[in-house]
Amino acid sequence: MATQSDVASGVVRRRGLSLKQRHAALAYTLLLPTLLVISLIVIFPMLWNVVLSFQLIRLRDLPTINLFDLSNLSLKNYATATGITLGGAEATSTAAGRRFWEALRVTFIYTIASTVLAILLGLWAALVVRDKFPGRNIFRGFLLFPYVAPVVSLAFIWKLMLDKNIGIVNAMGTRLGLPSLSFLTTRALPVHLFGLEVTLPLALITVIAFEAWHYFPFAFLFLLARMQAIPEEMYEAAKVDGASPLQRLWYITLPHLSAVMGTLFLLRFIWTFNKFEDIFLLNGGAAGTEVLTLQIYNWLFARRNVGVSAAVAVILAVILSILALIYLRWFLPEEE
């Protein structure tokens, strides 16, 4: 800010006020179309969504109800969504509230696990690709496939590969004597491990694996770019000093990557947190995989309740705004 106003005042002193004003006028003219579009499709909907979240609107009332009647705003939708009594507004059912908290929990598990896994896979891939080997470029191209291909295709490939009856994974598994599994629709799979019985949330694990697979190339590209920027002399010097390959990885490569990994984690966390289509396409949020975005969609189209759907959307937006602020405040300045 300081430098900017210095520059501005310098301009003023040299060429008079009119140039500064002309610049500003031109800038606003150039920005106007973008601002209009963004106001229309982002800012106005976001604000309106807040209003909708306080109104009791059903999908079937949508064409006829007076949307601008702001006389009976209430917290009822939030009460219904979360199952908490708010300002005298009671929840209509406790089951819906339980579903919300369950979805919140699932969203966090899904987001954290798939983000961490995606970054670790990306790191692994970057370490493999860093040094030249025959066919490296083709290999690199294959690695990018899960990231660039349309999510609809990717989800269908997974659905077919994991199918209980015709899936290649189960076909191979049964040859090895493993039981055939419905990966995407099994809420809890009891497994005996070393005499202990553990229940695995199989469907959730599967969608986490999908998400990590879908986005590891993103982490891979960022980490590879950063890795290739580490000066070769550092490795040479470390080698002369007797550092082994593992030590060079631990004391040179990884410390250089920590800033990028932090940024990647937060970025991917935010994007995964508001991801909708991946789980929707894989299993529609069945078997314990209903994340918040799917719950918003289900409130709107399955339970046909616009108000509650908007209320959950506001809650999601608030959580994300906090995360976005963290991103802007702590991570971005370091990068630039």
Binding site: A24, A27, L31, I38, I41
Partner: protein, 320 residues
């Protein structure tokens, strides 16, 4: 690694052990990564070339039989021929022909091309002047604008989706204008492409030296002429990258298509059309043919412009 002593005097130093282990691990890793990335791609192709009956009986057949591949291509020979009945059955037996001709994929392709093309054009028309303003001109509110764009980029699409859905329904109700068509959703697609385009162009414009522009301005050229004749030509690589990314985002986009186009099948995009195919009694192998049709253009774009795109990606951080 190069200075290997003779076999007898090999000392298994820590350096050597770790290097050897590292090489073994690396080879194993390459194989593993190929299995998880290239194999699904191959499997999609494999299934798309096999009749569903064969998949049911023999799910793990690794290479499609020659006669099945021939059946997929059979309609090529009969289209325009003089035996319509034979041709109809050939089309039904060919996953690709069936998807394209009987399940309206040709319409979906047209819709997707229109939407993606329009989205690219609009994103660039809006983002280039805006990115120029943010990088070259001083004005109050510049920082807020830059940060605001970034915030929008982090924002959930579904939160914007609900009110826009309500809005579109009401517009149709009140004014009789149906916005839920390929042209209407193009505007909404801008919500996910415009912030990206702006952000990437802004980073690129910052790297172009201002000297040339300033010289032209001193020589009396006007601003818009400078943008058109100097800034844009210099930024062609970045503009091309942005165009490709915006195209791919619009091509792959699913949520907005689902929210806004679901009620009018003639307007469906490829991803929506494919997803809707899933609900019907359609052989799974047809789904894979549809997946191949959607995926191939993206892979081709990426194959030809990979260097461009990966550089742009790490510069802008493309959301997926």
């Amino acid at each position: 690694m190069a200075q290997k002593p003779s076999r007898s005097s090999v000392t298994w130093s820590r350096e050597r052990i770790e290097t050897t282990l590292g090489t073994i691990l690396k080879v194993l890793s390459i194989i593993l990564f190929l299995i998880v990335t290239a194999f699904p791609l191959y499997w999609m192709l494999n299934l798309s070339f096999r009749p569903y009956g064969d998949v049911l009986v023999n799910p793990a057949r690794l290479v499609p039989r020659a006669q099945d591949i021939a059946a997929v291509f059979a309609p090529l020979k009969c289209i325009g021929g003089n035996n319509p009945d034979l041709c109809a059955s050939a089309i039904r037996n060919s996953s690709y022909a069936a998807v394209l001709l009987e399940y309206n994929f040709l319409t979906f392709i047209r819709n997707s091309v229109i939407i993606a093309g329009l989205t690219v054009a609009l994103s660039l028309i809006l983002a280039i002047p805006a990115a120029y303003a943010v990088t070259r001109l001083e004005f109050p509110g510049r920082d807020i604008f830059s940060w605001g764009i970034l915030l929008i980029y982090l924002f959930p699409a579904i939160v914007i989706g609900i009110p826009l859905f309500v809005f579109f329904v009401r517009i149709q109700q009140a004014l009789g204008i149906e916005l839920r068509n390929p042209y209407g959703v193009t505007i909404i697609y801008l919500a996910s492409t415009l912030p990206l385009a702006l952000y990437m162009l802004r980073s690129y414009f910052l790297t172009i030296p201002k000297d040339l522009e300033e010289a032209a301005l001193i020589d009396g050229a006007n601003r818009l002429g400078v943008i058109w004749r100097i800034t844009i030509p210099l930024a062609i690589p970045a503009i091309a990258t942005v165009a490709l990314y915006v195209f791919m985002i619009a091509w792959n986009e699913f949520l907005y298509a689902l929210l806004f186009l679901i009620d009018s099948p003639p307007s469906w995009t490829l991803p929506l059309g494919l997803q809707q195919l899933d609900g019907q009694e359609v052989p799974r192998t047809f789904l894979m043919a549809g997946s191949v049709i959607i995926t191939v253009p993206v892979i081709v774009i990426f194959f030809f412009f990979e260097r461009f795109l990966t550089r742009g990606l790490t510069a802008g951080g493309v959301k997926g």
